[in-house]
């Protein structure tokens, strides 16, 4: 009996009684035994996103912008090119725009339709960013949502929310904290958190990562 393949864009996945873990193991077995994937290729992809790509990349960009006024200007004028100078480009970072936070302007990024995120700069998105409550609420009550994360913004601070609805990806450049004038670029990068580069917290002068 020939197998019926659903037309593109029509399949609706059926309920299942099995766990995602068991089903993933089954799918990997099917694809491996047919030679369509190999364990080594999968391991390589996993290792890349576990070890090589993550918020330390974005933190280097931010720290450089804090200490180097020319890089700062290039980053704000053409985020894609400035990040590429440091080697950060590619998948989920085709076009990068840097958004600068200040004492009076606060930018925060979301993807209400899925979980678009600047992978080359920040790695894979954290759980809170993919959580339905954040995606639903930050475009409607950002001040309340930020306060829930512990970030209380004064009434004079203008909030700008950015919904990642195209392939443009956003990097928030947080404010450099006071009292960090003597730190090196590398030490500064150690202060910059993932969550500050999405816009749900500020960078503190004391290391807390």
């Amino acid at each position: 009996m020939a197998v019926q393949t659903p037309a593109y864009g029509t399949m609706i996945p059926q309920p299942t009684e099995f766990s995602p873990q068991e089903r993933t193991e089954a799918l990997e077995e099917i694809l491996t035994e047919r030679g369509l994937v190999t364990s080594q290729v999968l391991d390589g992809l996993i290792k890349t996103y576990e070890q090589d790509v993550g918020p330390m990349n974005g933190a280097k960009v931010v720290a450089k912008a804090w200490v180097d006024p020319e890089f700062h200007a290039r980053l704000l004028a053409d985020g894609t090119a400035a990040c590429a100078e440091l080697g950060y480009k590619g998948t989920q970072g085709e076009h990068i725009i840097a958004l600068e936070n200040s004492a009076t302007v606060h930018n925060v990024v979301v993807c209400t339709l899925c979980s678009c995120y600047p992978w080359p700069l920040l790695g894979l998105p954290p759980s809170w960013y993919k959580n339905p409550a954040y995606r639903a609420r930050v475009v409607r009550e950002p001040r309340t949502v930020l306060a829930e994360f512990g970030l209380e913004l004064g009434p004079d601070v203008e909030i700008r929310v950015h919904d990642s609805t195209s392939e443009v990806r956003y990097l928030v450049v947080p404010e450099r904290p006071a009292g960090t004038e003597k730190l090196s670029e590398e030490q500064l990068a150690g202060l910059v958190t993932r969550d500050a580069m999405v816009g749900i917290e500020k960078v503190a002068a004391g290391r807390r990562r």
Partner: protein, 221 residues
């Protein structure tokens, strides 16, 4: 499509999830496995593209979509793309689970490949076009009244609303058609700023809402 994935503005969702600091990229080994399988399924194995990947995630059954674990959505996406492209048969994954559990089960035969007849004109989603942008920075625009059953990047909360173009972004392929292989439909994309009160009424928190919207989603206001 007006699906469960289109969450912007939904109320009574409960508190946000507090961030984990220094958490692992994947919390269980299977999450890493399905991330990697999913990444390969999207293009290399199924012949689909990034927009079909998102359309497949949009179609995760709603109860599963809102629930955990997150990477179940990647599993459902891989299952959908691999099934639609004829790489695996419908029901093949559950049949294999039963077999691995030692149940007597007949697995469905491998179907005929049904990869889409599609070749991208370049890598990624950004493209060059000669056509002049229809809208300019500072111009007032209104979003269209979309009722499509296909994938779209015009969220519900911003349909039929008036905003201001603040930036002309690089041209992109249009996800609506690209996701189902009906053409790249390369077009300009605009950053559009909406006043929060235009979206949520006069009592809303005051802030500026920005979205990157495709030319087809907009008309002059």
């Amino acid at each position: 499509m007006d699906g469960i994935h289109d969450l912007g503005g939904t109320q009574f969702m409960g508190p946000v999830e507090q961030p984990e600091r220094n958490g692992p990229t994947f919390h269980h080994p299977w999450e890493g496995r399905i991330f990697a399988i999913g990444a390969l399924s999207q293009t290399r194995l199924s012949g689909a593209n990034l927009d079909s990947f998102r359309f497949a995630i949009d179609r995760t059954p709603p109860v599963e979509y809102l629930g955990l674990p997150y990477y179940n959505k990647w599993l459902r996406m891989a299952e959908t793309l691999l099934t639609e492209s004829g790489v695996i048969a419908p029901g093949a994954i559950d049949a294999r689970v039963r077999k691995r559990r030692g149940e007597k089960v007949e697995e469905p035969p491998v179907p005929e490949l049904n990869k889409p007849d599609y070749k991208p004109t370049a890598g990624g989603s950004l493209r060059q076009i000669d056509k002049k942008p229809k809208f300019s920075v500072g111009q007032r625009v209104r979003t269209i009244d979309s009722h499509t059953s296909r994938h779209t990047r015009l969220p519900r909360y911003v349909r039929r609303r008036v905003g201001t173009v603040t930036m002309v972004q690089p041209a992109h392929v249009l996800p609506d058609t690209h996701s189902v292989f009906l053409g790249e439909n390369i077009q300009h994309v605009y950053k559009v700023e909406f006043d929060s009160t235009e979206l949520w009424g006069q009592e809303a928190e005051k802030f500026a809402m920005n979205l990157d919207l495709y030319e087809d989603y907009l008309e002059a206001a």
